[in-house]
């Protein structure tokens, strides 16, 4: 057998409970082809470990301190094989929508675990379709992001949606402006727009999304164009269609307030 020469599957375990990690360790130890390269007890550690170690396989708990499993994936992408491990079955659909390889429900036995590992090997051997980019459809409808997570190297920033002033498209990135700082995130402005609450955030321009709560006034700029002025004095361009959207939302809000 060529077992020894074979490349090992480099694996990271993420769970905030020691006993749960211990269980995975025990099951994984039965499989020689697995090499555990890191164990993490929370989302921050997971992002750091995955960014630095680039593992092939990630066992990921969902309910964790700091960052939940889905937020971790949003930051690290789904380039590796992901197996979710959780006691909650309500996330299963969302997990498979982002092409998780498997979804283990606690408690599980060695046999079920073996099946998951089989699927992992198929995925790594290219027999299962590769994970595609995290889609915004993974988020259940009508539930908008309350916060945005941004990775800066191995560090993670969390920006509450309410504190986001505006977002600006910059090639493959968006610049997220909050509390005087700009964070760059690898995401298209359209996909960001789709996760933000449309009653609060308006796409005022091809390259700009603004938080309506932070807008102090709207001024004419030239014959057709306008600018919005934010509390800190920042001026953002408003396109013609952006102006229509902005007006529509403002009217809707006034109506609600009057009613």
């Amino acid at each position: 057998m060529s077992g020894a020469a074979e490349k090992k599957i480099r694996t990271v375990i993420v769970d905030d409970e020691e006993l749960a990690r211990q269980m995975l360790r025990e099951f994984l130890s039965q499989h020689n082809e697995i090499e555990i390269v890191a164990e993490c007890a929370n989302g921050f550690e997971a992002v750091k470990a995955v960014t630095e170690l680039k593992p092939d396989l990630l066992f990921l708990d969902i309910q964790m301190p700091k960052l939940d499993g889905f937020e971790v994936l949003e930051l690290i992408g789904t380039e590796m094989a992901i197996v979710f491990v959780t006691a909650y079955d309500e996330y299963a659909l969302r997990a498979f929508e982002i092409h998780a390889v498997d979804y283990l429900l606690k408690p599980f036995g060695a046999e079920r675990f073996g099946t998951a590992l089989q699927r992992v090997k198929q995925r790594l051997g290219g027999k299962l379709p590769p994970a595609t980019e995290l889609s915004s459809s993974a988020r259940p409808p009508a539930q908008y992001a309350e916060r945005i997570v941004v990775r800066d190297g191995t560090r993670v920033h969390i920006i509450p949606a309410a504190k986001l002033e505006y977002a600006q498209a910059q090639d493959d990135y968006v610049g997220l402006n909050a509390e005087g700082k700009t964070h760059l995130k690898q995401q298209t402005i359209s996909s960001l727009e789709s996760v933000l609450d449309p009653n609060q955030f308006v796409r005022i321009h091809r390259s700009y999304i603004v938080n309506l709560e932070k807008v102090t006034k709207i001024e004419p700029y030239s014959k057709d164009d306008h600018v919005v002025v934010l509390a800190n004095g920042t001026q953002l361009p408003v396109s013609r269609s952006g102006y229509t959207r902005l007006q529509g939302l403002l009217e809707q809000k006034t109506k609600v307030r009057r009613a």
């Binding site: 006993l19 749960a20 964790m64």
Partner: protein, 356 residues
């Protein structure tokens, strides 16, 4: 359904009660009454048999005129009319039977001798029917009492059912799944602790069921449940979960509805401590004021915690139960102070379980 006709046993007993009645009639017609024993028996037995069934018909007017809902005049009128009618009919039947028997040998002159006794049949008939009416009212009352008892039992069962349902909502299934996962992990690494956790979990579930079925329990019992729960969570979370208890000694016998504090402590872990990598402290304080008890459950939490799970459900349930029992005398207040989450419960100080 007629309570006597519908059961053979009851009918048998009822007919048995007619034997002395027939005996009395026979006795009064023989001797100085002018009838021979043979004549009296042949005449009376079939008449009594018929009238026994006639009297059972009282069930229907009794049902139609419930004693507690009908006026006295109506009761008298209904039953007296029926009694007189049936009694007249009965004495006519006695006469008819006597005429019929006269045609047979050995019953010569029977009709004439029976005619003297017709007033006896008439009077006895009225009396017996009235007795039967009374008897049927007793039966009706008994039936009503039995139905009321059944309804009460049913209501108790429904209430118990509702309690169990509430309990199912209380004992969070994910808590169970995570516990089982921890036990499963321990079975190979530390079988002794796995067994210990099984017992802790069983004790907790059993206590929850036992206490949950009672209307009130003492604060001490609730605190014991909370400690049992924490014992389990400590196996899962290790040193991340710490609890500080400050309970005034003289209020441990205060009565309160079951499962008020345990869900609060469970929330403190699920929505508070579980989101903190280093864990935190849950502080439970209970104090007695002039006439109220105030209990505070305070825990550290991460204000920027990821995807918040539904927090309101458990609190709503507690609020509803407090309201149902105490009305405005109890309250549940929730506030945050920086990274502290504080739930304050205020309820009347009852020591005997009776709400004054």
């Amino acid at each position: 359904m007629h309570p006597i006709l519908s059961r053979m046993r009851n009918l048998g007993l009822y007919l048995l009660a007619w034997i002395p009645i027939a005996g009395m009639l026979i006795h009064s017609m023989t001797g100085s009454g002018g009838l021979t024993w043979r004549e009296a028996i042949v005449l009376t037995v079939p008449l009594c048999l018929v009238y026994a069934f006639d009297c059972l018909a009282a069930w229907y007017p009794c049902q139609a005129t419930p004693i507690e809902k009908s006026s006295f005049a109506r009761l008298i009128l209904t039953h007296l009319t029926a009694a007189v009618l049936l009694a007249v009919l009965w004495s006519a039947m006695a006469r008819g039977l006597a005429i019929e028997l006269e045609r047979h040998a050995g019953f010569v002159g029977l009709d004439e001798r029976v005619q003297k006794h017709l007033s006896l049949f008439w009077a006895t008939g009225v009396l017996l029917y009235i007795l039967s009416v009374t008897f049927h009212y007793v039966l009706l009352a008994e039936q009503a009492a039995r139905e009321a008892q059944e309804r009460a039992l049913e209501a108790r069962l429904l209430a118990r059912d509702a309690e169990l349902k509430a309990l199912r909502a209380q004992v969070n299934p994910h808590f169970l799944f995570n516990c089982l996962h921890s036990i499963s992990a321990l079975t190979s690494s530390d079988p002794g602790r796995a067994r210990e956790m099984c017992i802790l979990l069983a004790d907790f579930l059993r206590t929850t069921l036992r206490l949950g079925s009672r209307e009130t329990i003492t604060l001490e019992e609730e605190l014991a449940l909370v400690r049992g729960y924490l014992g389990i969570e400590k196996v899962r979370f290790g040193t991340r979960v710490q609890m500080e208890e400050q309970v005034e000694k003289d209020i441990t016998n205060v009565h309160l509805p079951p499962l008020l504090l345990q869900p609060l402590v469970e929330n403190a872990i699920r929505h508070g401590i579980a989101n903190l990598p280093e864990g935190g402290v849950i502080r439970l304080t209970a104090q007695k004021g002039s006439d109220a008890v105030s209990i505070v459950v305070e825990n550290s939490f991460d204000p920027d915690a990821p995807s918040k799970l539904k927090t309101g459900l458990g609190l709503d349930n507690i609020r509803q139960r407090l309201n149902a029992r105490y009305g405005n005398d109890a309250s549940l207040a929730v506030r945050t102070d920086g990274n502290r989450f504080i739930v304050k419960l205020r309820l009347p100080a009852e020591t005997n379980g009776v709400h004054g």
